[in-house]
Symmetry: C2
Subunit: 586 residues, 2 copies
């Protein structure tokens, strides 16, 4: 492409309302323009990147045997009522009515539509497994769209949905998709990690998120420093300390802490570190009415149970982990009144010593391994020191109920954990039968009986992937595209183009030669100063730059500079094609 | 692709609610499935065709120097208010509000968005001309969606918008787009005609529709039988007869037509053909109040003027042509009361003889060349025969006010007109400044002064083009795809696949060889009878079929049948690749 024939809408100033670097650089490089809150036009330069990302995704999905389809953006709400998500999805699900008053939604995802299609089109286990995918526009009515295309309202997803006769088949396809996603993100040139994710409320059985590592990420990812292990911080298991609990060496004492209600304040007052203090988190969880009680009294109301969750004071409670423990389903923090009723004390001074049998004490694995620790005394203005399990209070129930921290041993058994921030660009999920059961999507099994299909789903945020590539690859001059998704791989900048017939002839010949060799080349034939051209090419992030000048031509050379290079270098013209063959990645 | 690995969802029965052949065959071949009224899922087979059509369109738009962009499906209604189309567009414009109550539309087209983008991004005439295009989902809330994807609510358009400093530049790009559209539809393998179209209410200055010729088309297209001339029937000029009016030879007579109110009845009664009868169409048009009158009486109401439009009785009035004549703007048919008041007669017996000076008589060119004709007498139960202009009534105003008919001389001067039906799949349009003026889209001109840009727009109905290809290419067995857009170019059907190891080996080897040579091949490895496989391959319209059997292998041959062939023939295996190279079009 000749620069004079396209729209290079670069901006010198950083737009005021762009918070993250990818948003700033996409605006400055002329990749996108805002149409309205959370709605963006993709300009020619941005669209080129988008289409390259889409092409790589399609090639790899096809290679994996997935079948491309296209489902409408607009969906009848009836399907969402069948699965219950018309209510569950909340206000991000945009609803509207057509001219006849029939209700529709703008699809934020397509589980309902594909499962409806599958229940109509698939009749036999012989047609399974099958994996359908599409690259389609989605709409999610974010309350506060931000970060440009990273969290926009209208966006492009690659979503795929697989159907299986049983869970074993799902696991096979899940593994194929795991490998395919690794191939895709590798080909996109991204530094990414697949991480174990919580299956949350969707209720499936297995899930991985694919995160692009970048400081601006919204998620914390825990990694082993020696193995492939990676997980969302919420998901990573916190192992018990390798060393057993030390024996008690101190007598229990009461210490006055008149105004010290925070662990940090207590530690400071006593001149100890937080690792010697135990934090007690009071929570309550509902106790369902059992069958016998209900028989005797049909109007019996569910009760509730009071828990003290013990953590080393520098650790954080992981509510997802805690909620999965027996009796803690649907738990919540206790109110001051509930604390007063259970412990006869106010928050800030509570602890596990001497509590009644109605209070269940659960200690995190690390807290359970502490001895001679400090905790609240259940009396206002007072803490206890030198406390020991088994002596001053019963041995607690022990469980993993905290977030991992950097330096924890990796749960895979190898190495220790580091924590980095990541941007979620992909998510694969073993859905199980949630949607197929709700919509009655069955096929005839081998025995001739109807059998509800098992499903997987696999998403990539296509527009978000573009932004994430920038978050990971930029410098103070602008974007640094991975070769595979750069809008142009090579910028050819001729010096003195307007005046030199020789340069025009030679640069045009080289431009045609590079194009014929299959490269995406931007020939900067604009009537601009070299400085403007150089800074534009750097801002828009073209990974390879060639500068043609008359002196070089005389010497039979051309100047080359990789976008990450600090210095340029001269390449002999007759070696240029071989050099580029080595330097430019497909 | 192996047939066992994709979704071949063919149906034996013709779905009851599919009215046109393309809709029937797209359902039967398993290309699409209805999700809701006017909303369709594209199954793998249909999606393959869709993506091939999109790719050809993109290649040709890129070749023409157009720049691909992507604009949101959802658009803020404010832009539509700026151009006045929020009101004008009517109920096909789907409106909705987001969670904050802000009003949006689902874009049926993108003139507003692109013009808004252009007013922000284009500053100078030096950046012009520029032509932006996208391939994007559109939504039009049709009151009665029908014919499958031919007239659906959600559909895919390729829409392009060009910006120019003046009309001369627009005309250049318009010509490039005209040529590009011819290339696109030729590559798609369609029998099409570009036809002159009425610019209608959009108010531009030049317009062509691209029609795929098919009996099921909704538009009548007039063609020259010897030249390239083609126009919408409404647009084609009806020339004056080549022979001058004959001299009067009959005396005028009154004839009794007691119950004959229709021209056909009068002609039958008098034993003449319709070509001797003149039909008088009574219309009225408003007369604006002139400035002087308005000065004297600011409350003066517009008046109206009464016209008799004369046509040879076998011709039809063309209201678009008539409305463009002086005084006939916003004309409508006169009511019985208005006819009574102007002519003192009831409809069915009216005519141009002896009318008052308040009645303006305009004759179509053909009617004006008639002599000794028959017309109404303006007396109930009576017509006149032997009527002649200049003798029995004044010479009328003469104008082209009728639709052309087959056999008319072509307005291009060469040949005579034929009329066929067409499906509109493309439309190119010289918009002028309608949108750029409304939205204030200006650039600095050569003299440094702001200048409103001139625009063109260029659309192709992508999903509709797929259906139109079927309307033009089918037989009683199913679809017959043009090679370039067939879901697969070659069907390879091995006989006895399940049982013969030799066939499996040889067919798989040939399948791989064909794929390696760049062909899209469907290997029918399903456990089905040959008859089922043959009829499926014919129904889904694969243009080239190879049948491999053991007898053929023994003889070193394979059976080939083109989808339009009546007989199959044996091709020597060692000549197969050369044969396909000749037969399969890229």
């Amino acid at each position: 492409m000749r620069a004079s024939q396209t729209l290079l809408a670069t901006l010198r100033e950083t737009p005021a309302d762009a918070e993250v670097i990818s948003h700033q650089l996409m605006l400055r490089a002329g990749m996108i323009r805002k149409l309205a809150s959370g709605l963006y036009n993709w300009l020619p330069l941005g669209n080129r990147v988008l289409k390259k990302v889409e092409r790589i995704i399609r090639e790899e999905m096809d290679r994996a045997g997935a079948l491309e389809v296209l489902m409408p953006v607009t969906q009848p709400i009836e399907l969402w009522e069948e699965t219950g998500r018309a209510v569950q999805y909340g206000p991000e699900l945009l609803r509207f009515s057509d001219r006849h008053g029939r209700p529709f939604v703008l699809g934020p995802t397509h589980e309902e539509v594909i499962t409806d299609l599958a229940r109509n089109e698939l009749q036999s286990y012989k047609q399974l497994p099958v994996n359908f995918y599409q690259v389609q526009t989605k709409f999610r009515d974010e309350i506060r769209p931000r970060f440009g295309v990273m969290r926009s309202r209208e966006f492009i997803m690659k979503d795929a949905y697989s159907f299986h006769i049983d869970h074993a088949s799902l696991e096979q396809t899940y593994q194929v998709m795991f490998d395919t996603y690794c191939r895709i993100f590798t080909r996109l040139g991204l530094n990414f990690r697949p991480v174990q994710a919580d299956t949350g409320s969707i209720g499936g059985t297995g899930s991985h998120e694919f995160h692009v590592l970048a400081d601006s990420g919204e998620d914390d990812i825990a990694f082993s420093d020696t193995s492939d292990y990676a997980a969302n911080v919420e998901m990573a298991e916190a192992l018990a300390p390798s060393q057993a609990r030390a024996a008690a060496s101190q007598a229990r004492q009461s210490v006055a802490t008149p105004t010290q209600t925070l662990c940090e304040e207590v530690a400071e007052l006593l001149g100890v570190t937080l690792t010697q203090v135990v934090k007690s988190v009071a929570v309550v969880a509902p106790v369902p009415v059992d069958a016998d009680t209900l028989k005797a009294n049909p109007k019996a109301l569910p009760g509730q149970r009071f828990f003290l969750l013990l953590l080393r004071a520098d650790h954080e409670l992981n509510e997802i982990k805690a909620s999965k423990l027996d009796g803690l389903k649907d738990m919540r923090l206790a109110t001051s009144e509930e604390i007063q009723a259970a412990l006869s004390c106010v928050p800030g001074f509570i602890g596990p010593v001497g509590v009644s049998a109605d209070v269940t004490v659960i200690a995190d694995r690390t807290a359970a391994a502490m001895s001679d620790f400090i905790c609240g005394a259940n009396r206002v203005g007072e803490h206890l020191s030198g406390v020991n399990f088994g002596r001053d209070l019963p041995e607690p129930i022990v469980a993993d109920i905290r977030n991992v921290v950097a330096g924890d041993p990796s749960p895979c058994g190898k190495g220790t954990l580091a924590i980095k921030r990541g941007i979620e660009v992909g998510h694969i999920f073993q859905l199980g039968q949630k949607y197929s059961a709700a919509l009655g999507a069955s096929v005839l099994g081998e025995g001739g009986k109807p059998q509800v299909m098992t499903m997987g789903c696999y998403g990539i945020g296509v527009t978000r992937a573009v932004a994430s590539a920038i978050e990971q690859n930029y410098d103070d001059k602008g974007i640094i595209w991975p070769d595979a998704i750069a809008p142009y791989q090579i910028a050819l900048v001729p010096m003195n183009w307007q005046k030199s017939q020789r340069i025009q002839t030679e640069a045009t010949a080289l431009y045609e030669q590079l194009k014929a060799a299959g490269y995406d080349v931007l020939l900067d034939d604009r009537n601009e100063r070299p400085g403007v051209k150089f800074s534009d090419m750097e801002l828009i992030g073209i990974p390879h730059r060639l500068v043609m000048g008359e002196k070089g031509l005389d010497a039979g050379t051309i100047e080359y500079k990789g976008r990450r290079d600090t210095e340029s270098r001269d390449i002999a013209l007759d070696e240029l094609m071989a050099f580029l063959g080595e330097s430019v990645k497909a």
